[in-house]
């Protein structure tokens, strides 16, 4: 059912709050007063509830079913974590109130930091990055600062990035002023070592490498330690994109692989809800080589057991590369992640990683005869297929949209770029075997139709709240906000 925009339902006079009447005191704005009211529509409380409830029903969510978006790690979001984050002692404290009044909050950050450092075997962690991509930025800013400290800041500007990398990797490198040099993938879906070595032959300008491991093909980089050695020998640093850390927690510690910096997506590995687009949180761990440059603020514990925030670039933080954000990071996400980590414990986190990998391999095994696995052998936490098996005219997107009609969120489409018509399926550890079987049955049947060239797939979805949306039209003449004229125009069409 169609739900109008709130601006089409409400009026600027309508309100869903009851505020006391202002007293009419003389303004102290000195005339710096708004001239034109916003005119924004309001709704009474019952109307607002219904508007957003009805809209919510147009969304698919992990609470409703499998959400196999490869590389996004959509796992169960425990409600205990929501409850804990809402304790007034966490949710209702101000980032700048005196530190003596937030000792529990600082302790919580320190505890989470300890877990992250231990699980990765890295000596240092920056807690303030606000999402995964922000964590990448944090890592590269530390590398930049280290190079500056070595006096090579202006020289070492080349960042190596495999072609299978997330788009954020090259984008982040560019944001930090690096140029991106792309490394080829080999036929096994890993870094092509010959190409890497070639790119390192002239090494004076190499800043480092950004490598995802397990990589975006869902594979562990077999030559990872050699890569680390090569990059270090070349005078660069090894940034590891930790988006796929979920697959190896408790079995592999990035610190043992020669990594210098790695961000951790708390929502992917530690179950904080993605919220339809954030907030995320991207704590970034560092090796000894980069530890001196971590950003402020950070928490430290003094000998008397008092937790203290280091907020300025001086004293013990005199080599810090600076401050990335206004306050201390995503406290709300820290609480959720710690609640999850404590619930799972060291044993549970390892079991979760293993179950995630088992589930992915089960899907690969169940579907490899009807679809085209991109690479041979076992996968890690996600199974990657190409569109080789489809008949002419049927594309990956058709298979994805057909899954919607079967009651599932589609897999990741057309990524990684190294595989034609890629379909990247990540079930995570929080799916039961029965759910996996139902999903595989549905996808198997669609795959057979795709192989036979069933044209009805092109029209999917048929059963979703909407049919396929015209993305080209949206981009051609962008309509990015509501106007009264817009409504009448739509009505006229």
């Amino acid at each position: 059912q169609h739900e109008d925009l709130l601006f089409e339902i409400g009026t600027p006079e309508t309100t869903g709050v009851d505020l006391p009447k202002p007293k009419g005191l003389k303004s102290r704005l000195g005339g710096v007063a708004r001239k034109v009211d916003t005119g924004l529509a309001g709704l009474s409380e019952p109307q607002a509830v219904r508007h957003y409830m009805r809209l919510s029903q147009k969304n698919y969510a992990i609470d409703l079913g499998l959400f196999p978006l490869g590389s996004c790690t959509m796992k169960h979001n425990p409600r205990l974590n929501e409850k804990m984050a809402r304790l007034p002692g966490f949710g209702d404290i101000h980032p700048l109130q005196p530190q003596a009044t937030v000792q529990g909050a600082l302790q919580l950050i320190d505890e989470l930091a300890t877990w992250l450092k231990t699980l990765t075997n890295m000596p240092s962690v920056a807690m303030s990055p606000k999402a995964g991509a922000h964590g990448e930025l944090c890592g590269l800013l530390a590398i930049r600062q280290a190079l500056i400290a070595r006096g090579e800041g202006d020289v070492r500007k080349r960042m190596l990035v495999p072609e299978s990398a997330h788009g954020t990797n090259p984008a982040t490198a560019a944001q930090c002023g690096f140029t991106v040099d792309e490394i080829k993938a080999n036929k096994r879906g890993r870094v092509d070592m010959a190409d890497l070595k070639a790119k390192l032959e002239k090494s004076e300008d190499v800043a480092g490498i950004m490598l995802t491991n397990p990589n975006t093909c869902g594979l562990f980089e077999t030559d990872i330690r050699e890569i680390a050695d090569l990059i270090h020998k070349a005078g660069g640093y090894f940034y590891c994109d930790g988006a796929n850390f979920n697959a190896i927690v408790g079995r592999v510690r990035p610190g043992d692989l020669g990594v210098d910096a790695m961000h951790i997506n708390l929502h992917k590995t530690f179950s904080t809800p993605h919220g339809g687009g954030g907030p995320g949180s991207g704590p970034t761990v560092f090796s000894d080589a980069l530890a001196p440059y971590v950003p402020v603020p950070f928490v430290t514990k003094d000998d008397d057991g008092i937790y203290r925030l280091v907020e300025q670039v001086d004293g013990e933080a005199s080599e810090s590369f600076g401050r990335m954000v206004a306050f201390h990071g995503q406290m709300g996400m820290f609480v959720r992640a710690l609640a999850y980590i404590l619930s799972h414990g060291a044993d549970g986190l390892k079991q979760a990683a293993e179950d995630a990998v088992l589930n992915a391999n089960y899907i690969q095994a169940r579907l490899k005869h009807v679809m085209s696995p991109a690479f041979d052998g076992y996968c890690m936490h996600e199974a990657l297929f190409s569109d080789a098996f489809t008949a002419d005219g049927i594309e990956t997107i058709d298979i994805a949209k057909a899954l919607i009609d079967e009651g599932y969120h589609p897999m990741t489409m057309y990524f990684p770029l190294v595989v034609h018509g890629a379909m990247l399926i990540e079930p995570t550890e929080t799916e039961s075997k029965a759910e996996l079987d139902r999903f595989c049955d549905a996808l198997e049947s669609i795959a057979r139709r795709a192989a036979q060239g069933d044209d009805t797939l092109k029209g999917a979805p048929y059963l979703a709240p909407m049919r396929r949306l015209d993305e080209t039209r949206a981009a051609r003449k962008p309509v990015l906000k509501w106007t009264a004229e817009d409504t009448s125009k739509v009505a006229a069409e």
Binding site: P88, I93, P95, G104, S281, D347, Q351, A474
Partner: protein
């Protein structure tokens, strides 16, 4: 392990289907030296909900919540009332536990609310277009600076002396990483106007803030004119979104980009995060914007619907040519913002702003009447700076003993700038007459 549905039998059956002996088979690519044998040392095993809840509740109890007594801390984050309905909406499974709306056919809930959010932010800031949110106000500000450099192809960024120093730091960091030059004007309680003098033909943008970090509200129209006269942009920053109901918004002052913090509407204090960065600009700059954009379109049946659009600006398409690396932003906080703003309505927001302003007026009058206290902020919305005859840290500590969280010492934000006797003080609709009396009485005792 309550979050793991697989039973031991499931695992055995699945391994058999796969043809693997154990999960160890899947990890054979891991170099032997990097394989962890046994458990990671020093970490405890799994615990039940009751145990976890007890531990975290104990930690939470060590913090003093803003609602537990008179509370006057602002400087970039504000204690406002969040309606229960807002929290209910953002806890709705379909909003909370979904991903970025990459599949619009089953994500219209998220997409339509983002479209509503963009409309609200554009209207509040009086700008043409807004994006679907940034991490927070400080990163909005930093992205605005580098966007201005892209737009103008110039390299100098000028920061007001009233810009929140954390915003200035985040901006300097990103700008300098991109090879830009950042000019920081001297700290000034009423210094936004200085920007007009500083702008020159090399300037990409000037960044002013109103209300600024000292609470001073300033009409930046003259700054805008000066900037535009030199081919530079004006970036107008705010940290208190509620002020937009009453104070001249960026668009009315001629700003090219507005960047601010949306926490005040719909979002709790959360010790600094997650918050929601607001970002809007003039229409012609839209293709240089960072972040996601939601746009209107139609489906195959011709029905109105919404999609993420202009993604050729973004990293997953453009990679190293993207306008930013931002990807996951602050979707759920934007939903909180939008649903609170919907409950308020235009008239409600204005009224809320008036209540905030009046609380600050009453607080200023009460504190100003205490012998020895000087109100430093000439024009303010809901916060201002005071000077007392003593060291601010000592004053705040004594207020704390009296149960009053009296504000932020300016020296915490400006360590080297000789503001040791200055306190930044904020009031909101949550501030009661009793709170003000408690502050005033305690202050009288102290100085």
């Amino acid at each position: 392990m309550r979050y793991l549905p697989l039973t031991p039998e499931d695992r055995a059956n699945m391994l058999a289907t796969i043809g693997a002996k154990s999960v160890d088979d899947f990890y054979t690519d891991v170099p032997d030296a990097a394989r962890l044998k046994g458990k990671i040392a020093g970490l405890p095993d799994h615990q039940g909900e009751l145990a976890v809840e007890r531990h975290l509740t104990k930690l939470a109890a060590k913090n003093r919540s803003a609602s537990s007594g008179p509370f006057f801390v602002g400087a970039g984050a504000y204690k406002h009332h969040v309606p229960a309905t807002v929290d209910m909406i953002i806890q709705r499974s379909e909003f909370l536990t979904t991903y970025t709306p990459y599949q619009p056919e089953i994500a219209q809930g998220t997409l339509q609310t983002l479209f509503e959010f963009q409309t609200q932010v554009a209207s509040l800031t009086a700008m043409d277009v807004a994006n679907a949110s940034m991490y927070d106000g400080s990163t909005s500000c930093a992205e605005a600076a580098v966007m201005a450099a892209r737009v103008t192809r110039r390299k100098k960024i000028i920061l007001s002396g009233g810009l929140h120093p954390h915003y200035a730091a985040a901006t300097r960091l990103l700008a300098e990483a991109q090879g830009l030059t950042v000019v920081q004007l001297p700290v000034a309680i009423d210094g936004e106007g200085e920007l007009a003098k500083a702008v020159d033909g090399e300037t990409a943008c000037v960044i002013g803030q109103s209300p600024n970090v000292f609470g001073t509200v300033t009409d930046l129209s003259a700054v805008a004119d000066a900037a535009h006269g030199k081919g530079a942009l004006l970036v107008s920053v705010f940290t208190e979104a509620v002020s937009l109901g009453l104070v001249t918004p960026p668009g009315e002052m001629g700003a090219d980009i507005a960047a601010g913090e949306g926490q005040s509407i719909g979002n709790g204090l959360n010790f600094g995060g997650p918050y929601v960065g607001l970002f809007s600009c003039r229409e012609k700059l839209v293709r240089q914007m960072p972040g996601r954009l939601c746009g209107e379109t139609v489906d195959a049946d011709g029905k109105r619907g919404f999609v993420l659009t202009l993604s050729t600006r973004e990293q997953h398409i453009r990679r190293d040519k993207a306008t930013s690396n931002i990807c996951t932003n602050s979707g759920l906080c934007a939903l909180a913002f939008t649903s609170h703003m919907t409950l308020l309505g235009g008239k409600g927001l204005k009224q809320l702003a008036e209540l905030n302003h009046e609380a600050a007026i009453e607080l200023a009058d009460a504190l100003g009447a205490v012998k020895g206290v000087e109100i430093l902020t000439p024009r303010f919305f809901n916060e201002f700076a005071i000077r007392t005859p003593m060291d601010a840290e000592a004053v705040l500590a004594m207020l704390d003993e009296a149960g009053v969280v009296g504000g932020v010492r300016a020296s915490r934000l400006f360590p080297g700038d000789h503001l040791g006797d200055v306190i930044l003080v904020a009031a909101t609709e949550c501030t009661t007459a009793d709170d003000i009396a408690a502050y005033t009485d305690a202050l009288k005792e102290i100085i």
